[in-house]
Structure formats: structure tokens, C-alpha cells
Amino acid sequence: MAAYSFINPFDNIIMMNDLTRVSFTNPEKILYPGLELKKSRVIEYYIRIAPRMLGFIKNRAIVMNRYPNGIDKDGFYEKDAPAGIPPWVETFNKYSEIAEREIKYIIANNLDTLIWMANLAAIEINITLSTIDNYETPDLVFFDIDPEPPCSFDNVIDIAFLLKEKLDELNFRSFVKTSGKKGLHVVLPIIKSYNFNQTREFVHQFGKFLARESDLVVSEFRNSQDPGTVFIDYLQNTPGKTMIAPYSLRAQPDAPVSTPLEWKELKKGLRPEEFNIFTVLKRKNDPWERLLESKQSLEV
């Protein structure tokens, strides 16, 4: 199959791409200087991970974290669709009270949009905890287990299991992923019958409970920067706030990936950097494959 179709140059179009509507720009640009990884590798990663990622990010407002000059240079958040957005990229308009104007969020419901974002050097892709058909109603409850040095990843694993035990006890099915940085993310898929105040309070309650169980855990934002603690961050459970998408790359030197894991994979000595642009594509199963089908009630 030819990559390009070619039509008589004196007649009409010069050429078009059969496979994607995206025109790649600067594919040779180095985005991870430590690894000498080119933008083309980042795009390729997103192309190859798309079958696992697209179902999850579908119909969710996206906030891109772009690093056009590589991860060692300043990146920037981009909520609003950038100028020159192709007509085929879906958007979702939402009035922002903070910005006092409509924000045009990108919706990535197809492969081309994901590739288009990768071509913009959107290394990190963040998604809302609700879908655009019901923006104020979360379908995910998000526990962000966020350690403060000198806490180790082993400590984080311990706390995650402490949380899982409690959730299991109450018959909640929980899913875990690495944040790609130092923490772990635990997610509960829920039926769309609660508001963000309720989910935020739900997570906060668990944080308070864990803080009583473990000396490491802090449940309040004011303590979140205390050295050697693990904060159960409940604050992202808010309309418009986001979570790093499963399988999103992170702008960290090892090109780590926020990777969905089986609980049994979480063992002492595990290093989150093991899950990166090189290794994640080789993983056989997607532990989050059935996540969106496992919606549960928050009633105990």
C-alpha cells in the first residue's frame, strides 16, 4: 500500500496522505534530550498505544501539556484549542468562570486527533473525570496518592494497598495506575448519579481514615508538602479538573508512562520508571480494559 497517492501535478492536488489527515512537522525534533528521543518516536508511541487509550479518553475534555522544545525546556498547559486547529478536530465549548470566557476543549475521539496532539508535542494528555455529555457529573472517582520525599515508592505501594483493602472491604472495585512520576493513581468507575462535591468528599473521607491508620498519610492540603508524607489528594475531584490519562507519557527524563497495572503487579522494589515509552507497548494485557464497564454505586 502506497503511503501517498499521487495525482497529476498539473491537474489537481499534488498528493495526499492515505493514512492520516495530520501533516507531521519537525518529526526529527528531539523531545527527550537525555534519551535522544525524536518527536517521531513520541508520535509513534501514541499511534501504537491508541487502541488502549482512545476508549478511555473518549468524550472527555482534554488539557494538553505541550513541550515543543523538549522536556528540559518550559512546557505549557493548553486548555483552549490552539489557533489553526483542523476542522476535523472535535471540540467542546464550556464557559470557564475563572477565565470568564468560553474554553474550547479538544475532544479526542479518533486516532487522527491523538496523532495531531502528539505532533503538537503534547507529551502529557490530561482528561476530565467526567464526560462532556454530563460535564458536572463524574464517572470516575480519583485518589491521587502523592508522596513527598524522602518517601519511597515502596511507601506509596503500602499506602495504595491500605486504601485497596478498605475499598475491598466496602465492596468497591478499584483500579490502579502509576502516575508516571512518583505516585500512584487509584480510580473507581461510578454510575453517573453523584456530583463532584460528593466524590471529592468521598475521597477526602478515605484520606482521613488512612491518616489515622498510617503515620505517613496526610489527608489535608495544608500538610501535603510536609517532608516524608503521602498525601491522598482529593482535590482533583472537581468540575473541569483533570487527571493524567492512562497511557499518557510524562515529561520526565526516562519517558515514563502513566501505566495501568494489575494490583498483583505492585510489589516492593518496583520502580515506576520501569513503565516507559519502550516497555509499555510490550505489555500483553490492559488491566483497565474493563474499567469503564465496571460502574458502581457509591452507596455502601
Partner: protein, 283 residues
């Protein structure tokens, strides 16, 4: 390098054309090409020089017919038949067919005229006495924190119908120039050297022209008088350029993606990944 420059040229011309279409005027340059002073004896008028002439000819890129990709120019040694790096080149002057004198860069630099940032005017002539055949390229002079002196010079030569004659070095070339007033501005026009312009007297066909008769002269004069008018350059349009612009516009509208697709190794790899993923997503 050639590729980048050409691309820019094509684009900037296109923009110029857009402007020109709106009001029959080329777009002013944003940056001066030269700055320095007009000097007349001991008088100095600091000025900046802006390009006045924008060539609006269309240029095309040469593409490979099979895949539409732009072609790159390379320097190929005719003996070894291999591509030569810029750093391995020297300049040669062809004295006879295929016989060259070779110059080092230092040798050429040593005799190159130095730009001393002066437009030296040493004579004022009647503007109308300059034969247009010598006019080459025009630049707009603007005052460089010298508004009063500039205005004085412009006003006085305009009133007297004079043009200042002199010379200037722009980049590495020395030009004879005239400076005169046009539409409230001083204009500098570079001139051709005498040896660059063919003298009509050297044309054989012109040597034996007969004097026209009185009757014929009267008739011809009448025709000329009937067709007399004011000079207005905007009455003329380049029909080819108009048709070309229209053609480009039509092609652009027809959902034509003028693909600047870089056909690099990286992109080839992406195409493979795309094919595989599209297959998987189909299942």
C-alpha cells in the same frame, strides 16, 4: 539551504501579490537594507534605505514527478561525479573555456569595496536630463533622526527640479546613484555604469535612417496628439500574473492540500505504525 530560502521567497511574494491586488501597491519592507548618511561636502543627512521594488514574478519549485517531493540542488564535481561540500569549494574565474584562475577568499575580500555608510553626492543635475535607460533599482530614503535636514534637502531639490548624483556602496557593490524627490520622499535610484549599457550607435540597422517627409510628420503628430494622456502605471496589469493567481486560488479551494509532507525516515516509520494501528482499530 537553497530550499529554505526559495520557500520563503515564494511565500513572501504571494503575500505581496495579495497586497498588490488590493491597492495596486507593493507592501513596504519592514527592515532597512542599509543605513548611513547622505553627504554633500560637509553636510550630513542620516538616512535609512528601504527596498522600493518588489519583483512579483511567479516562481515554481521543481518537484520529483513520481512523488511530488521537492528537489534539492547539489554541487557535483564533474570529474569525480560526487557531491562536494560547500567547505571544499573555491571560486574560479573562467579566462577561456574550461580554464580558470583560482581565488582565495582573502584575495577577494582584500579588493572588495568597503561600505563606508555614505551616499556621497558631488553634483546636482536636472532630473529630466537623466536618460531613463540608466535607471536600475529604486530605494526609499527615510530620515534617521534627521527630519529637519532631510526635509530641507528634499524640499530644495524638488523645487529646483534637481537630482543629486553620486555613489554608494551597498553590501559589497559600488553603485552610481541619483537622489531625487518623489511623492514627499527622497528616492535613491541606482544607475547602470556606462559600460553596462549598449549604445544605440553601435547598431548597424540604425546607421542609415532616412529623415521623414513633412506630410508624414504632420499625420504622425496628429495621431500622437490624439492618443496623448497622463502617465498612469496602474492602467497596466500583468494578465499572466492575474491568471496564475486565479489558478492558484482555484486549486487551493478545491480542498487541495498542498502537501509539504517531509518524506523522511521518521515519517516512513510512522506510516508503518499507522497501518498497524488502523488494522487493530478495525477489529
Amino acid at each position: 539551504m537553497i530550499r529554505g530560502r526559495d520557500y520563503w521567497k515564494v511565500n513572501s511574494r504571494w503575500k505581496c501579490n495579495e497586497m498588490a491586488k488590493d491597492n495596486d501597491r507593493a507592501k513596504p519592507s519592514s527592515r532597512p537594507v542599509w543605513s548611513g548618511s547622505i553627504t554633500i561636502g560637509l553636510v550630513n543627512v542620516p538616512v535609512k534605505l528601504y527596498t522600493m521594488i518588489h519583483d512579483q514574478a511567479f516562481s515554481f519549485r521543481l518537484l520529483h514527478k513520481d512523488d511530488g517531493q521537492p528537489l534539492r540542488y547539489e554541487r557535483v564535481c564533474i570529474k569525480e561525479d560526487k557531491v562536494i561540500d560547500w567547505k571544499d569549494t573555491v571560486k574560479g574565474y573562467e579566462i577561456r573555456k574550461n580554464e580558470f584562475i583560482v581565488f582565495k577568499k582573502e584575495e577577494l575580500d582584500a579588493i572588495r569595496p568597503e561600505s563606508d555608510e555614505r551616499i556621497r553626492l558631488d553634483k546636482f543635475v536636472s532630473l529630466l536630463s537623466i536618460d531613463p535607460v540608466f535607471f536600475d533599482k529604486s530605494y526609499i530614503l527615510v530620515p534617521d533622526r534627521s527630519e529637519e535636514a532631510y526635509s530641507l534637502m528634499m524640499t530644495v531639490i524638488a523645487q529646483m527640479g534637481k537630482a543629486g548624483m553620486g555613489k554608494v556602496t551597498i553590501r559589497t557593490k559600488e553603485y552610481p546613484v541619483v537622489v531625487y524627490e518623489y511623492k514627499g520622499s527622497l528616492i535613491l535610484t541606482t544607475l547602470r555604469y556606462a559600460y553596462e549599457v549598449v549604445s544605440p550607435g553601435d547598431m548597424e540597422e540604425l546607421s542609415g535612417l532616412k529623415k521623414p517627409g513633412k506630410k508624414e510628420m504632420e499625420l504622425a503628430e496628429k495621431i500622437i496628439k490624439d492618443l496623448s494622456g497622463e502617465f498612469d502605471i496602474t492602467e497596466y496589469r500583468d494578465g499572466y500574473k492575474d491568471r496564475m493567481e486565479k489558478l492558484i486560488e482555484t486549486k487551493m479551494k478545491g480542498e487541495v492540500v498542498v502537501a509539504q509532507v517531509p518524506k523522511k525516515e521518521e515519517v516512513k516509520e510512522l506510516m508503518v505504525a499507522l497501518q498497524e494501528t488502523i488494522e487493530r482499530l478495525r477489529k
